[in-house]
Symmetry: C2
Subunit: 249 residues, 2 copies
């Protein structure tokens, strides 16, 4: 059984200010917890019901496991239907953005993405396509938000996320800057070359004017129907796919 | 002010059985309500606060408008942060699936999609790319679920959705059947031709064995990183994009 104070601490981690205060976040579900357990993230504790994946328990040499009741699990979970296991994970120091690590590759830059589901899906999609770096404006949703962590399906453990002053960063880097805009050139006729940053904007407002000024090539996914816009997670995936298909030419 | 019984009716429409019983569903937000008001859907009533888009009020010749308090709006909304307007809309008779309408085009078939956000995003994406028909297995999430309606951002008003016995339907239609599978041929090397059905599977389980048997061409989005799978909404969008890019060759 969990003490009241532990429950209170774990619940508080649904809010960013307490995640920052304690330097901790939660990861839920066998699949996601396994990904984090096998990554460089440091797991402080694992709380689980009897339904935990036995493979996870094999890690018990290094990790502190505590079996708890479903009732307690429901109290600390951020999910409507809690899964069988929740890990308490240490927030690492944000990685230093070494621009030479970006050279010869594609990375994603996000200008003010707000929806945790979109953010998580973008991280999962980047991981699928082998994109290792996502550079976010300072006001982009916190990547340790439980809904973001959930939507990444474990991919947060594989992708490097940076929070920066985006305009300053883009102004300083010597790489092709592609911006997703509604009035750019047709994505299907765009030569992305061999490296660059794909810059995606906020759900409602798109890219900020000061970011648009820095875009070297505006690119558009042409519309064939009636929808006014594409979801930003979907648009990001189509950019990733177009870059990926280049390697099969 | 809304009567208790009206509030109770409107709230009940968050559940499928009451939507079926009353033949009604709710649409929330200026943007989505405008799309429905300008479509062939029949709007029974519009409930709004003073913050309604004035353009919507111009439709008042045909529609019954009722100004309500934010408090009442919060009671009937399915959203955490309710928007300024909610429309009560009649569920139309499901359209008859006329297979000749599919000829010479691409359509999407969904085998048991469960997540309302995924379903809504797929409808919005289809609408963006000009895909007009989505054929769903009978156990696919109800398209009038408020979270589906919300995620379509109005595109539900533009796309035809059918619920069918999917295996029976696919067995009877004379069109190329492409299935999204993990062990198919590379999507970037696939010739989709000029017509066909793109069949997407359930979030956790993929396509059912009886559907896989009917697939004529298994197609895969190749993986370049570590993620185990792509979100089904993302995968559907990449298929739509690949078909669309053919028209720019």
């Amino acid at each position: 059984m969990l003490s009241k104070s532990t429950i209170s601490l774990l619940k508080s981690l649904q809010q960013k200010k307490f995640r920052i205060e304690h330097g901790l976040f939660l990861v839920e579900g066998n699949k996601s917890v396994t990904e984090f357990a096998n990554s460089s993230y440091q797991i402080e504790a694992i709380y689980h019901t009897a339904a935990i994946d036995p493979k996870l328990l094999k890690l018990s040499g290094k990790i502190n496991f505590t079996e708890i009741s479903l009732n307690d699990l429901e109290k600390i979970s951020s999910l409507k239907s809690p899964q069988e296991v929740i890990a308490l994970v240490k927030i690492p120091a944000f990685p230093i953005l070494n621009t030479t690590a970006l050279k010869g590759k594609f990375a994603i830059a996000l200008d003010g993405i707000q929806d945790p589901g979109n953010m998580g899906t973008i991280i999962r999609t980047a991981d699928w396509f082998g994109i290792q770096h996502i550079i976010c404006s300072a006001d982009t949703v916190d990547v340790y938000n439980p809904k973001v962590v959930q939507a990444t399906m474990g991919s947060l453990a594989h992708v490097n996320i940076y929070y920066v002053e985006l305009a300053e960063f883009l102004g300083s880097i010597n790489m092709p800057l592609f911006g997703a805009l509604l009035d750019g050139s047709n994505i299907y006729k765009t030569d992305f070359g061999t490296e660059g940053l794909i810059i995606m904007g906020n759900e409602g407002n798109g890219l900020r004017p000061e970011i648009i000024k820095l875009v070297q090539k505006a690119v558009t996914i042409p519309r064939g129907g009636n929808a006014e816009s594409l979801n930003v997670g979907i648009a990001t995936a189509i950019f990733c796919s177009e870059i990926k298909r280049n390697s099969y030419k």
